[in-house]
Symmetry: C2
Subunit: 743 residues, 2 copies
């Protein structure tokens, strides 16, 4: 009996084997350290399969909203928390990631964690990683590493660096906004299809796909950085041949980052290495494509190209050591190439000559005995045997030992055959041992190249990202946004990149002009189904795309940097949590009002819908006034409402503008043109929609009569629409009229 040791424990956050991993998905372990006194949390995220390791310190917030936002952005597969953590914090984490594992407090202590990290990275200080003065960052990172080390029982040498992020470097997209805008999963919680990610992801490698997803949920806040990314995308837009060649090369690259992780961990398979080799031969081609002296590449592309290091001896080594099409694992050998190792070759020839000897014996014995059907075969129970059919039993020589009787014949052996069998078995045993040893040695000698592989992987990921964003920009007709610091937005012909893929008969683009200091709040009224929600979401999506460095679906877009996007659209009862629809709505609203800044973009869809008309109206109006404020500017806000009474606010709050989605009435029919035009409307066409939906005529006719009666009483005469005609920016009849704000 062999004494068995636990060599590793598999948990959702620490899986490394490729068959357990979806390739484009990061498997991220998150550790959360907390300080109740300062209401700060440290959030470390570690992808053991690639070695990616980063940490950030942020505010937790009374309702753990900071933690939720961070977790929603990362999308971890496992979260570890101190064993003494509040149940509230654990519950908040569990809502976003079902696997939350308590871990001893000791591992989160800055002292312990500091020592572990320094020992792992072999550094004297953590200053180089930017977290030296941040005990929560150290605690979280140390705990994540400690957990991963414990689960893997291995030194995890591919984790070579730790990057400390500050919460302020990235646009904040809370969990609700991520869901409402359907960036990486749909509102119904389904995976990719129908999301912005699904439209943008034209990457050719899993490394690029992971990077794209992480950029999408963390748009930048720094104009220079955004412009650098846009330059890189522009380059690939402007050079279609280069883009096409780079992309076809990228498609041939495997997941270098993950394979590097498995090399470091010692679990890479022979097939992994051959795949890696094939990918590595692609790199110099990419590099030389982008090093054409006649083409000037932008800084970001140049950096990525500079990061491609010649793998040099590695590829030769793998090429020499492994056969071209090795088995998926080392269990039965057969991966090492002939000529790589003399001893192995020797064993192989022994085994081979043994088998030749047996074939030879078969031939000899057929001739000697005159039994033409005599054959020598092998099975696991009896080893090699000579088989003779019953009909030929009389011809069997006396020196054959009978081994077994079968229905069709007899099986024999001879001392010579037995001896040869034993030699073959021994040779094969030695063979397998030797191959296994050689492969392990190969992995060891490759381990030193892991940092180089990781660097190459990062370069590939960035080039993949830029060329993929360029590809979608060209194919879907996106334009490069103009990024400015002032809180403005000017869009001409903006579209919703996801919805436009599913609309029959063409998506109707819309213009937007906002300015925190003048046209700050747009109140949007108009018919149901006219496209209010789609319009509002498309604006938020445009800003996010621009700040992640992507081109945007519009004819023109000037976008002033947005620090946070807030959305409040729709909701449904959460009976399980005991919250009514309206309570959910108000909680989300409170979160917005408590965190909004003058640089934010706020999308509010029908605030106050879940309560009585007067309550709802009062709340909606108070919210409008709050967002408008008494100062000179405020957060850019889109405010859709069915409270037509609210349009009067335009008269009292100077930065409020009314807009509506145009509708054409032709006799009894109603056509939604889906165009946003200035001015308010007092018609919602709710009864028209009810008719479309199949509500019985009897009901809709009566509703029309009731409506006429109510309108006659309350809304009598004022010709409200007339008042706005001169403000039209774009005539719904002729698209040729220029938007005066977009030169």
């Amino acid at each position: 009996l062999v004494r068995r040791e636990v060599v590793r424990v598999i948990t959702p956050g620490t899986v490394i084997e490729s068959e357990l991993l979806g390739s484009a998905e990061a498997r991220t372990l998150v550790a959360v350290a907390l300080d109740r006194r300062t209401d700060q949390i440290g959030v470390a995220s570690l992808d053991v399969s690639t070695g990616a390791f980063s940490v950030l310190v942020t505010r937790s917030g009374s309702d753990c909203s900071g933690l939720r936002t961070e977790l929603a952005r990362i999308g971890p597969t496992e979260v570890i928390v101190p064993a003494s953590a509040d149940p509230d914090l654990i519950a908040a984490a569990r809502e976003i990631c079902p696997v939350v594992t308590p871990y001893p407090d000791e591992s989160f202590a800055p002292g312990t964690a500091n020592e572990l990290l320094k020992h792992h990275f072999q550094t004297a200080t953590l200053e180089g990683f930017g977290c030296a003065g941040l005990p929560l960052a150290i605690g979280a990172a140390g705990a994540a590493l400690a957990y991963a080390l414990e689960m893997h029982h291995a030194p995890l040498t591919h984790i070579t660096t730790l990057s400390t992020r500050t919460a302020e470097e990235r646009m904040v997209l809370d969990e609700i906004t991520l869901r409402n805008l359907e960036l990486v999963s749909t509102i119904r919680g389904e995976a990719k299809d129908g999301t912005l990610l699904s439209v943008l992801d034209r990457t050719g490698t899993s490394m690029g796909a992971r990077l794209l997803k992480s950029c999408l949920v963390s748009p930048l806040l720094n104009r220079e950085q955004i412009e650098e990314r846009l330059d890189a995308v522009s380059f690939f837009v402007d050079h279609p041949m280069v883009r096409s060649e780079v992309r076809s090369l990228l498609h041939r690259s495997a997941d270098i980052e993950r394979i590097a992780g498995r090399i470091a961990y010692g679990s890479a398979t022979p097939r992994d290495l051959v795949t890696l080799n094939r990918s590595l031969t692609v790199l110099p081609m990419i590099s030389s494509l982008l090093s054409d002296p006649e083409v000037t590449v932008p800084a970001e592309v140049a950096t990525a190209v500079a990061g491609i290091e010649d793998p040099g001896s590695i590829t030769d080594l793998i090429e020499r050591a492994l056969v071209d099409d090795p088995p998926a694992n080392t269990r039965n050998g057969g991966m090492i190439r002939d000529g790589y190792d003399e001893t192995l070759d020797h064993f192989r020839s022994l085994s081979g000559s043994g088998k030749d000897w047996i074939l030879d014996l078969q031939q000899k014995e057929r001739e000697r005995t005159g039994i033409r059907t005599l054959k020598i075969a092998y099975n696991r129970v009896f080893g090699y045997y000579i088989e003779v059919t019953k009909a030929n039993a009389a011809l069997v020589p006396a020196e054959y030992d009978r081994k077994q009787t079968t229905t069709n014949g007899e099986r024999y052996t001879t001392p010579a055959l037995r001896e040869q069998e034993q030699q073959i078995a021994e040779a094969e045993e030695h063979l397998l041992e030797r191959e296994t040893m050689l492969f392990a040695a190969l992995l060891t000698s490759l381990a030193g190249s892991v940092p180089m592989l990781q660097q190459n992987a990062a370069s590939v990921a960035w080039l993949d990202l830029y060329s993929a964003l360029a590809e979608v920009a060209v194919q879907d007709g996106f334009t490069r946004p103009v990024i400015i610091d002032e809180p403005k937005v000017l869009i001409r012909g903006g579209r919703h990149p996801v919805v436009e893929q599913h609309v029959e008969g063409g998506f109707i683009p819309n213009d937007t002009s906002m300015d925190g200091a003048e046209e700050q709040i747009l109140i949007i009224t108009g018919a149901n189904m006219a496209g209010k929600s789609t319009y509002m979401r498309s604006l938020a999506i445009l800003c996010i795309m621009a700040q992640m460095g992507s081109f945007v679906p519009a004819d023109h877009a000037t976008i002033g940097l947005v620090d946070r996007v807030f959305t409040r659209v729709g909701a449904f009862d959460d009976l399980a949590r005991g919250q009514s629809t309206f309570m959910v709505e108000m909680v989300e609203l409170a979160n917005i009002l408590n965190h909004v800044t003058p640089q934010s973009l706020v999308i509010l869809d029908e605030i106050g819908r879940g309560t009585s008309t007067v309550d709802g109206y009062s709340i909606a109006r108070a919210v409008l006034e709050f967002l408008h404020g008494k100062g000179k500017s405020g957060p850019r806000t889109l405010f859709a409402t069915h409270f037509h009474e609210l349009v009067d606010v335009e008269a009292t709050l100077k930065r409020v503008r009314n807009y509506h989605l145009a509708v054409q009435e032709t006799g009894t029919d109603v056509i939604f043109t889906r165009q946003l035009i200035p001015g308010a409307t007092d018609k919602s066409y709710g009864i028209h929609v009810a008719t479309l939906a199949g509500v019985p005529r009897k009901v809709t006719d009566r509703a029309t009569a009731i409506l006429a009666e109510v309108m006659g009483r309350e809304y009598s005469t004022t010709p409200k629409k007339a008042r706005y005609t001169q403000m039209l920016l774009i005539s719904p009849e002729s698209e040729a009229v220029e938007h005066p704000a977009v030169k």
Copy 2:
């Protein structure tokens, strides 16, 4: 090389192996035949694992609503449709069951199907199955059977009968209502937890659990049938000792139905049979418990007991044939008991004596050679060998043949050992062959008992259902409902069975009095979070529970039969389908208004919320008038609204009553008492909820001011509340006042 045949194809709807099945879940294959001309569909449902097979003909409906309802009820794992079926129909099916497989039209043709079914059941006509005159039923059933036969490549003899249901026998619960009421899955689409099923399911067997789920989604419409079920439940409520004993016996019963299916198919494992046997020995105990001459059992219980047939010779046969704790599969033998088969015993003793001989040899050789550490061992490559450590090499006798050298010693063999080894190997091969053959023969001889086993399984399932419903009734304080034919509802102290499990501080019960001819429509106003949704859902759930034959969570319940339950509560945008929130709302409303009958129960929550106030009000009012109608009675309706203007309808429509959920104001605080009391309220406390949710004070204070202004303008003086005080049925202050309607 053995020629391989496809012996079966595994598809989601035709899985039979236990390891691929969740035990309490039915794996149901559904086939849909359709006739465009008559707008009828035949829906056959077949659970291959148990043999349960039924079919029904119903209307499809222009939007496939009939199909959706039926599929939502069945919850199939795979749906097959004619290859020529409309994309609309396929899309509708796919929304409920992702696996929709087209199958040749020919199989759905009544002629082909008729022949196949008659051949399978060995009958001359299908009249006995009740579907002789129903070509769509025959087509659907035939196609389902054809598909299952094709996938299994086996005669599926355990499918012994087909039951034809008519659509009218059961209460109709459409897909939306199933979801809104969270009967078997939550609104968020999660599995069991938080559903009515999770509360009711106290069954002890998988058979009972499957039956409970199917009864829950198909409540009865026939009063006698309901009373019979209630009698059965009452019996177990009234006899706690019997209930407890039956339940503890049931807990010892395995899934007889599924095992019977595997016996018929020939895939039952040795462990299956032993498990079956243990379960079968429980049956006579249950039967004798319920056959006590001093206790009168109700008809349904008597029928179930009568269905328990003495398994007789089967149990003996299995007992004799198999060891007590057999392996999970037949691969390595070891399942047949000693003494069952002489030949097998002979092989066993050969193999055993061979091993004894070897032990004996080891002893002898130790003594003879004086090597005390000499041992005889076995490995797969070299077979048996004598191992001697290096230290003792000198003592090895000359006649030992060296077989292999290891690091610690040498391995030898002798001609005698070699011969013995060969005999052992032969004996073991024969042994395994014989065991496999004997087990196959056992399965064949059991196959004839499959119908008897299925009948026993059905009896067990029903007894399990009744005793489980009794158990939950006693534990959760349910009462037996009084079922009447008139369209009335009288509830005293009704609770929501799921929500009451999660409410801290006790659930507040509510009374309800409705009557299609007098108090037909209850308009419910009142504060947000006051519990309107929970109250309305609880009423629907009470009706459904009563009609499935369960006791209900109330102090008293008189329930007039309900033919359909309709619900419209909340909604969220379905951007992917291109429908706005309001459109979804209207489509669901249209479905209700187009199908409602005077015997229906309608739950409408805030109809008209998604559009402008005037549109919404007009629609809501027109719907109220439509449901009220001009006749003498109409569908019982609960109508929650935030349009306070609607309460005036009570004055013009005679069968409308206003109710609201009481709220106590104490200074600045608001307490939700969650009690439904007569009369309307004009307060929604929306701003109060906003404050609770954390909306900034600045906003809520301003909202309060705006509200006061609006109310001052529009609602000025009328003291609406006073008008209803004399109508109070139950005083909110004292619970002792009797509900006059409940004697």
